[in-house]
């Protein structure tokens, strides 16, 4: 019972974050065979038969995300994605919903920093109807004004509702404070003021410019005959008119120098939520697998060093963890936890000590072995379903990673040694350059947390936007 009804579920800005939970490893596990075809109009098609359950999973990536939102109109990519099902040339939003629900289909769309993703699942027996719905949304969305107005109004309130729950917004503040003027600073879903500036015309233009075949990857996995499906896809998606792809331009992200702290005041908080770290690595960084192994030991599991210190041994928190989110440019690294107001300083001190000790002592052979076995043991269920597989091959294609990303994962994990881990820690787990974001009751914790940084900023959670303050 008492399933806390997270109203934030309605507008899940944290969804992208949860994707980090997909750590990795394999156990002589290989990707099922799949085929890549580039259609004449430039669309990249990936097709994988995966038998067992009569479901077909579609996963499309439009290679433009919220990092391309115009300044001041943060949320444009997210809103555009959200409107795909809200009216097409042949269906109203209501008709789309009726047709989709009648066959028990699912349809999700959203934008992260790097790209827009659109996914859908249908029973194999409904494949033709499902394909018609999916392609209708991607190819023929026409953004009726009433639907634009509705979604924008809902999204603005969604941002406000999410601020009632510190956990749902802490990484919006963290991303903003960490990335400053880099586009990764922008809140993917926009904020209370930026959403008000978005207009139908801008949405249409964004769609026309970015939703083009040469800028799109479409992966389909599940129970079907690949040859037959390819023909169907060539008919529907092959008819998509060719247009030049937009130029993706995500600048390099570099780590912040020195120490900075943002305190977001939530006067009713009985618990402080904190995240600290710096800019991490890109999805193609040559250290990426080694970093995952090392982070698994540091803050990636229940028995990790961080959770052992902050939860198991001290009882400061229900959970402490760390993650790297590799992206096109260097994505964030963060240590994250929460604790009651009174233990805010001891908990942050302890997290810093764990980090410091990690840098000093490195990783033991036993810890390294555990991290490797854990990653390898827990990987197979992450590519178990057609939906997981379609999403995985689409994102690998987007980042330019080949099948060895999975097929060689075990070997790459095994290649990490105690010595190489030491270098990884030295290079990727910062000590002197750290950005802190705290959400909590400023009147209780404010004075004490100043010690963590040379520069401190403060704002109220009720103020519009995240960081920098919305204008």
């Amino acid at each position: 019972m008492s399933s806390p009804k997270r109203i934030g579920r309605f507008f899940c800005f944290l969804a992208a974050l949860l994707a980090f939970a997909v750590a990795a490893s394999t156990q002589t596990l290989k990707l099922p065979p799949h085929e890549k075809v580039v259609l004449k109009n430039g669309l990249t098609l990936l097709v994988m038969e995966k038998h067992g359950v009569p479901i077909v999973s579609f996963s499309a990536i439009v290679k433009t995300g919220s990092a391309a939102d115009p300044a001041g109109q943060e949320g444009l990519a997210t809103i555009t994605a959200g409107l795909l099902r809200k009216g097409t040339q042949k269906r109203t939003a209501q008709q789309f919903a009726s047709d989709l629900d009648f066959i028990g289909g699912s349809f999700d769309s959203g934008a992260s920093d790097d790209y827009t993703s659109i996914s859908a699942e249908f029973l194999t027996k409904d494949l033709d109807r499902g394909l018609d719905l999916f392609s209708d949304a991607v190819l023929h969305a026409n953004f009726p004004q009433t639907e634009v107005d509705k979604l924008l109004a809902q999204s603005i309130d969604g941002v406000k509702a999410s601020k009632d729950e510190a956990e749902a917004v802490i990484f919006n503040y963290y991303g903003g404070y960490l990335y400053g003027t880099h586009p990764y600073a922008r809140p993917e879903g926009g904020d209370e003021l930026s959403l008000k500036r978005i207009q139908r015309d801008g949405i249409s233009k964004f769609y026309e410019a970015n939703y083009v075949p040469a800028n799109t990857i479409l992966a389909v996995a599940g129970e079907f005959n690949a040859a037959e499906l390819k023909k169907k896809l060539e008919t529907t998606f092959g008819a998509w008119p060719a247009k030049p792809a937009p130029v993706a331009n995500i600048p390099t992200a570099t780590p912040v120098k020195g120490k900075r702290l943002l305190l977001v005041d939530k006067p009713d908080a009985s618990q402080t939520y904190f995240a600290f770290g710096n800019v991490g690595v890109s999805a193609t960084d040559s250290d990426r697998v080694a970093i995952r192994v090392v982070n698994t030991a540091f803050g990636g599991t229940f028995a990790s060093l961080l959770n052992t210190a902050l939860r198991i041994e001290s009882g400061y928190t229900y959970g402490a963890s760390s993650f790297f989110q590799p992206q096109k440019a260097a994505g964030p690294f963060a240590i994250y936890s929460f604790t009651k107001n009174e233990t805010t300083v001891p908990a942050i001190d302890l997290a810093l000590k764990v980090l410091d000790d990690f840098r000093k002592n490195g990783i033991t052979a036993a810890q390294l072995d555990t991290a490797k076995k854990y990653m390898k043991g827990q990987f197979p269920p992450r590519i178990e379903t057609s939906g997981q597989l379609a999403a995985r091959i689409a994102s690998n294609e987007f980042y330019g990673l080949d099948d060895n990303e999975i097929n060689q994962l075990e070997a790459r994990i095994d290649a990490v040694t105690v010595e190489s881990a030491k270098q990884i820690i030295e290079k990727h787990f910062p000590k002197d350059n750290l950005v802190f974001v705290l959400i909590g009751k400023a009147s209780e914790i404010g004075p004490a947390v100043k010690k963590y940084a040379e520069k401190e900023d403060e704002r109220k959670i009720s103020e519009p936007g995240f960081w920098p303050p919305a204008k």
Binding site: M1, K5, G52, L100, S321, E384
Partner: protein, 451 residues
């Protein structure tokens, strides 16, 4: 969060009731997965389903003890106990369970609800004997170290702050149950009242362990890269020797019929108000289960549902509206949650929800709606069946709440049999004003202004 275990409740179990509708298909699908069963000499029932598609195993142990077996003063003890089950036994001391499991590629979690405490292990098949050794160790020889208890108390308090005190939905939900029930133990929160979390004693813990953790009070489900023979052999070696003791005394209190609407208000600082309405409905294993799910699907599921169309799309007074049912050995609640838009009085949402409920009572749903709802149930069935974890959870859910896992195979037939008249009947029977509890959270300033 990935590294956080011991969640109060996995959403999966709540959703586990979305079972199939479309007759023969679902039955055939279910029959592709034969389940082997065995009852050990000490009374524990074991269910095994082999699936070699990935080299992994999902192992669930369901203990029939939850917050319904607690009393004022010790609320939250089942959940706290769940945490203690990770804090050391005889062979695997404090902190060792997770270390050893991870070192062998395994991961675990657990959850507690009103009825059950459930332990979950996910691991590569190579870790198979180890997992049995660990589970047998903690069932028999749990340690009660006062230092660990003190620190775990803080962890649980932090969990409570996370999920309830600093979460508007969690807070309002707790108040709703506390108001909808006046006699039955479903009235207190699974996590426990803060004053109980702070005060329960070593004796309370020991008593709880003796009461709940007997093999004859537990059911094990194993799905994945295993054979039933090897699982039964491991059970004989590790589990069967564990002695049996008396299970928890039956919960005899019956919640009296609600005779009129109950209302409560929570004032707190918040950006947006929140509305929750709870209706008493029968226990999970009731013939009306299927018709209720069809009704809820028509009203709440998907953007074509009646409530979404009315409140979110047409009148634009809510950001979202949903319904949830917690499984129960005893009569439980169907809860409707609406997130009003800013500036919208929750009473406006309330009024429209009642109007839609009244329509479902006054006239039959359409053929198309009925067929849609059955299709949605069918797809949900496949979604649960597509992973070894989903299957372990679903098999266990049917075995525990319906008393027999084979009821899983009847679900399709049972949904298929639901008629429009059944749907109308359950709407009228359960969703009337006298049977409801209405909980409203008002942002503090707004609330004061209205008074």
């Amino acid at each position: 969060m990935k590294t956080i275990k011991n969640s109060l409740l996995m959403a999966g179990l709540v959703c586990a009731f979305g079972l199939s509708g479309g007759a023969a298909n679902a039955q055939n699908e279910a029959q592709q997965f034969p389940v082997a069963t065995k009852t050990l000499k000490n009374g524990m029932k074991v269910l095994v389903q082999s699936d070699h598609s990935i080299p992994n195993v999902a192992l669930y142990i369901f203990y029939r003890i939850g917050s319904r077996n607690e009393h004022p003063g010790t609320t939250g003890l089942s959940h706290f106990f769940e945490h203690m089950m990770f804090n050391g036994a005889k062979k695997y001391g404090p902190g060792e369970l997770d270390k050893v499991m991870e070192a062998n590629g395994g991961e675990n979690n657990a959850y507690t609800n009103q009825n059950l405490t459930v332990y979950q292990d996910w691991f590569p098949r190579s870790a198979l004997p180890l997992i049995f050794d660990i589970e047998a160790d903690r069932i028999q020889y749990l340690q009660f170290d006062p230092k660990k208890i003190a620190s775990e108390r803080e962890v649980v308090a932090s969990e409570r702050r996370l999920r309830t005190d600093n979460d508007n939905g969690g807070l309002l939900d707790e108040q709703l149950w506390a108001t909808a029930y006046i006699a039955h133990p479903y009235q207190w929160p699974v996590v426990g009242w803060m004053s109980d979390i702070e005060r329960w004693t070593m004796d309370d813990l020991k008593h709880h362990f003796e009461m709940g953790y007997s093999p004859n009070n537990a059911t094990m489900v194993v799905v994945g890269d295993v054979t039933s023979d090897e699982i039964f052999q491991l059970c004989e070696k590790y589990i069967e020797p564990i002695p049996t003791h008396a299970p928890p005394p039956p919960v005899t209190t019956v919640e009296p019929e609600q005779l009129g609407e109950r209302r409560l208000v929570v004032h707190k600082p918040a950006e947006l108000p929140l509305l929750m309405i709870g209706y008493h409905i029968p226990k999970t294993n009731d013939p009306d289960f299927y018709a209720l799910n069809i009704l809820r699907t028509v009203l709440f599921q998907g953007e074509s549902s009646r409530m979404y169309q009315r409140l979110v799309d047409k009148d634009q007074i809510a950001l979202g509206v949903l319904s949830e049912v917690q499984p129960g050995f005893d009569p439980t609640l169907a809860i409707i949650t609406a997130q009003p838009k800013q500036g919208v009085d929750p009473a406006t949402c309330e009024k429209e929800i009642y109007e839609e409920l009244n329509k479902a009572t006054a006239s039959l749903i359409s053929d198309q709606e009925l067929e849609k709802a059955k299709n949605i149930r069918l797809v949900e069935f496949y979604h649960q069946m597509r992973t070894i974890n989903g299957r372990a959870n679903t098999i266990g859910t049917y075995e525990i709440y319906f008393g027999d896992y084979t009821r899983l195979f009847d679900a399709a037939k049972n949904y298929s049999a639901v008629t429009k008249e059944d749907v109308q009947r359950v709407a009228a029977k359960y969703f009337g004003p006298n049977n409801r509890t209405v909980a409203t959270l008002l942002p503090e300033n707004e609330g004061k202004a209205k008074q």
